[in-house]
Symmetry: C2
Subunit: 343 residues, 2 copies
DNA sequence: ATATTGAATGCAAACGTTTGAAAAAATTTC
DNA sequence: GAAATTTTTTCAAACGTTTGCATTCAATAT
């Protein structure tokens, strides 16, 4: 009843005046155990609420069935979608997910990884923090690799690193978005870029630039401003854009949040969307379908990424010694809605 | 180099022809160890990348420094804010968070709890799944309590249960929201209610009802419809509301998502917000400030809840044997924006 | 009656670490 | 140089579980 200390196999053994081995085997339905003994022990175990101490098993078998997920934040739709994807595949297999939020801090990222290794986590899913990017440090990642702990990049990656990764085709997504704006007839397309250096930002930026080039459209430096992935960070840059002598007639935001911020500013200024200004985001977050007007965006399959990343992890785990890292790039998909459909 | 098997204390002991005890003490800066021995061992350990096996320590000390977080979903703003709050307090103390998503399933919730107990998790933060509510089962929770594992309710709770809990004052938040609508002059206030049975839904509903009563406003059954916390689920009910012979002139949504769904439908119908119809949500999610018009809502301090829940856990952990559960109810706060400001 | 079989159980080691107590080694004291 | 003291190291047990091998005991076969 007031079992503050959990019941152990030894306790049960004492109760039945038998050895722990017998109890262990009885509980695991080992054939060499007498039917009656088995029944009695199992019944008693249930009665007192015995639960196997998995910690001791982890030590014995050197398997912890726990995985690390290290991400800069969990307050974005995409991140949580990825985590749900991981969860969907791995939870039924008995894995536990240890979530570590780095808040874009290098130090926290380093400490998190170290902690996960100490805990003998069997694999790590990582989306690199911005500070880590800026600093360019990566010894903490080397550590993980040396330990032969499967390391899978999700979303934000180090490009020159020999590991598996599951990412979305940001480049072509961005390209398609801008191409769409061009096809509609927008001429001065601005880009609210993400933080410099991050693969995600740069790939989308590259898609934007290359698309403009392909269609021989001028690239105007003053139409490219940085944001920080969140709504607030889009407000000032958008205001600046709209106050230009020659303002843009369309804005491609690095993600939906940013595009929604831009939408808000444009509307405040009395601009009609999409007539006066076209808008495109990125992510296809649930809200994007319900803004007014609804937001044209690029679908980014977060759940799928999580599920693919799980697959990559399992491959690596069951793979032979000389393991070749895999890169999965899922296609992104343009979702055309009202915010860009000027007729 | 190719250290597939992690280096152990024993390995180091072999290398220095000394006992594991010496190595352990050397690494922990035990004073009884010779200065030179200590230095040599520490240096070597660093060289080969030794990392303490925390699993063995967990077994020895019966402390795992891991906590369970069991929630129906992580794709809502509020849930992730709570998790970030937990993380903020507990991560620096060395705790690891094991996230379990139940997808509103009773079975998954039960299995998750059982797994966490098996893993000797030191505390569990729980937001009850809807199925569990509907079914009214709670033996799996009794289990947790019997084990004297601190159980803290966050968000969704069982009311008749002797545990600590950190929740937001939904009732008064809802009351304030409706009172505000009334003060502005709205007469026919509809409510897009959450799923029946959940404390959250019912408390907000009660706030709505009691406020109407207080101001002697008629309670119209046809103005109360159920939704499911997400945007999509608000679409049809809102359409129905607006097609009534005597449609509402304001809608109080159970959360921001629902209110945003309603906003979209209202705009599609050509209604002006807030002139033709007033709107209020709940949560103060980041997006709510940037919709057009911006959404009046009730602030729900998710991060704070997470931090308070952490405190409750720590209290219980350090508390004496006869522990009295604490209930923390944080105030919610009306945030008035454009969607309800009819002049 | 003895050997043979078979069933049921126990022993001991292992996983990696810590820690009190004992032992060994080095140093000091007289 | 022996005794006393201090410093340093080792021993052994513990945490909870599993598992190959050995052991026990009863039943059957010879």
């Amino acid at each position: 009843m007031n079992s503050s200390r959990p019941v152990t196999i030894k306790d049960i053994a004492r109760r039945f005046r038998c050895s722990p081995s017998t109890v262990s085997r009885a509980l695991n339905d080992h054939p060499a155990i007498n039917e009656d003994t088995r029944k009695n022990i199992q019944e008693y175990a249930r009665e007192v609420g015995y639960q196997r101490n998995e910690v001791s098993l982890s030590l014995l078998n050197k398997k912890t069935a726990s995985l690390g997920v290290v991400v800069p934040t969990i307050s974005n739709y995409y991140e949580t979608a990825v985590i749900e994807g991981l969860h969907t595949v791995l939870q039924p297999m008995g894995y536990t997910l240890n979530i570590c939020v780095t808040n874009e801090s290098y130090l926290l990222e380093k400490e998190s990884l170290s902690k996960l290794l100490s805990n003998r986590t069997e694999g790590i899913f990582l989306s690199v923090s911005q500070e880590t990017y800026d600093a360019g440090y990566y010894e903490h990642l080397e550590h993980v690799i040396q330990r032969k702990t499967p390391l899978i990049f999700i979303d934000r990656e180090y490009e020159d690193f020999e590991t598996s990764r599951a990412t979305v085709d940001d480049y072509h997504g961005a390209f398609a978005a801008v191409e769409h704006l061009i096809s509609i007839g927008y001429k001065q397309i601005a880009h609210l870029k993400g933080p410099n250096g991050l693969t995600v930002s740069e790939q989308r930026f590259k898609g934007y630039i290359n698309c403009l080039k392909k269609y021989n459209m001028p690239i105007r430096e003053d139409l490219i401003l940085n944001t920080n992935f969140n709504v607030e960070s889009a407000i000032l840059p958008t205001k600046r854009l709209l106050e230009l002598a020659s303002p843009p007639d369309a804005i491609f935001g690095v993600n939906d949040q940013v595009a929604i911020g831009a939408m808000r500013v444009a509307k405040d200024k009395g601009l009609r969307i999409p007539q006066d200004i076209g808008l495109v985001g990125f992510d296809n977050s649930p809200i994007s379908a319900y803004t007014f007007p609804s937001l044209t965006t690029v679908h980014r399959p977060g759940r799928k990424i999580g599920m693919e990343a799980s697959r990559l992890f399992l491959n690596q785990l069951n793979g032979s010694g000389d393991f070749a890292p895999e890169s999965i790039v899922l296609p992104s998909e343009l979702v055309i809605r009202e915010s860009s459909l000027r007729i």
